[in-house]
Amino acid sequence: MASSIENNNEKLTLKSSDGEEFLVEKHVALQSTLLQNMLDSDCSSADVIPLPKIDARTLALVLGYCKKHADASSSKQGELNSFDSEFLKDMDMGALFNLVLAANFMEIKGLLDIAAQKIADTIKDKPHQEVREIFHVENDYTPEEEAAVREENRWAFEGFP
């Protein structure tokens, strides 16, 4: 704990895929295992760290999450939980997908967990046609094949939409 307070004023620069630069305090960046590993190895904090897979909008969200969690690391868990649910509340699917990809790339486990869970919750009670639309998945079944797959396990969970 002491070392992170000590290094509070150290900053590093992250660059999004669309070229925007973000100045981030080091203790905030440490929420990401990827950045932590980079800092632990001899990557100088003066360098700009490019994040070619993450656009500015997503990166801003990710850093907002990291800041809240870094600053609140010793405070109440309840406050963080309500922040987390508020954070994802009105997010559309596209933004959620980007967030999952970014959290996966930057190795931010907490964020990956809540964003992946949010997507899972969204599709949980949807019929498969709707899931297909949400994920933009092309249906490569013939109607007969699809009916056969559907029939396979019908008995186990009768009454599912």
């Binding site: 999952v100 599709i123 949980k124 498969h128 092309e138 008995w155 186990a156 969970f157």
Partner: protein, 285 residues
């Protein structure tokens, strides 16, 4: 978005493995790629860490005073919002009519209905209609059989390992009144039945009543003992109960016959309600 989404399998696995089984079965219909993903062993293992609610109950009746088995098995799902439909054809994919013996983490252990010229034991997963056949062990037909399958103990993905324990009651040769239980254990790794060196001495009182419903919890409630699913050598030590070698099905898998009297016909039937939590485990080796 799909390209990005499926660029690495980690992310769809991470999201989809959080879904309950009934949703997964439903979204197998989304596409062939999703179907494949949901059918992969690595995915199944990750998904199985999720706690599933009970899917339903199996019911099978049994005559108390007649050796012939009753063939019909009913399945009653529990999660439905509509009127519940009882299904009687769940096990039609097996080559013979069967008697349910035990359930463990989604796998079901059953045997041929008696009388049968060549009785067999089946371990099956009715969700994907897979089964493996085991020879009937060299034990009397009224022996109890229990399935032990604990996927969380097995860290390898290649196969689904399980054990079957057959318990039967013996009389000691020296003292007529002394009874003991002996155990035959089948391992899916060695594909053979082995007689366990351990026996369970028991008070002769009431043991004959217990034969058909030998309490497996008695050999399983010691959570400290190595349950040896992976086939690792067990340290038998000084246990009184035959727990180390004989494997323990979790408490949820116990078949508990309940005896009821049906007055009109004056026939005593025992009914085995078995609740089951289905899982996606594959039996193909």
């Amino acid at each position: 978005m799909e390209d990005l989404w499926f660029a690495s399998n980690d992310i769809p696995i991470d999201v989809l493995s959080r879904l309950p089984l009934k949703t997964l079965l439903n979204i197998k219909c989304v596409s062939k790629q999703w179907h494949r993903l949901i059918s992969e062993r690595s995915f199944i293992r990750q998904q199985s860490e999720r706690k599933e609610p009970i899917s339903g109950f199996f019911f099978q009746e049994r005559f108390q005073w007649c050796d012939d088995d009753i063939r019909s098995i009913s399945y009653i799902p529990v999660n439905t919002e509509e009127a519940t439909k009882v299904r009687r054809s769940i096990f039609d994919f097996l080559p013979q009519s069967i008697v349910l013996l035990s359930v463990s983490n989604g796998l079901i252990c059953c045997r041929s209905c008696f009388p049968s010229p060549q009785p067999e034991v089946y371990i099956c997963n009715p969700l994907n209609k897979e089964w493996v056949t085991l020879p009937w062990p060299t034990v009397p037909k009224q022996s109890s059989l229990g399935l032990a399958f604990d996927p969380s103990r097995d860290t390898t993905d290649e196969s689904t390992n399980f054990k079957v324990v057959a318990v039967h009651q013996n009389e000691t040769e020296t003292e007529m009144e002394d009874l003991y239980f002996s155990y035959d254990v089948y391992s899916s790794k060695t594909k053979t039945w082995t007689r366990s060196k351990e026996i369970c001495q028991c008070n002769h009182i009431k043991t004959s009543v217990l034969t058909s419903s030998l309490p497996f919890p008695a050999i399983s409630d010691d959570t400290q003992s190595p349950t040896n699913l992976a086939g690792a050598p067990s340290d038998s030590g000084d246990h009184r109960r035959p727990s180390p070698d004989v494997l323990s099905p979790p408490a949820t898998s116990i078949v508990t016959p309940v005896t009821v009297f049906i007055e009109e016909e004056c026939t005593e039937l025992s009914i085995c309600p078995v609740h089951v939590l289905f899982a996606l485990y594959l039996l193909s080796f």
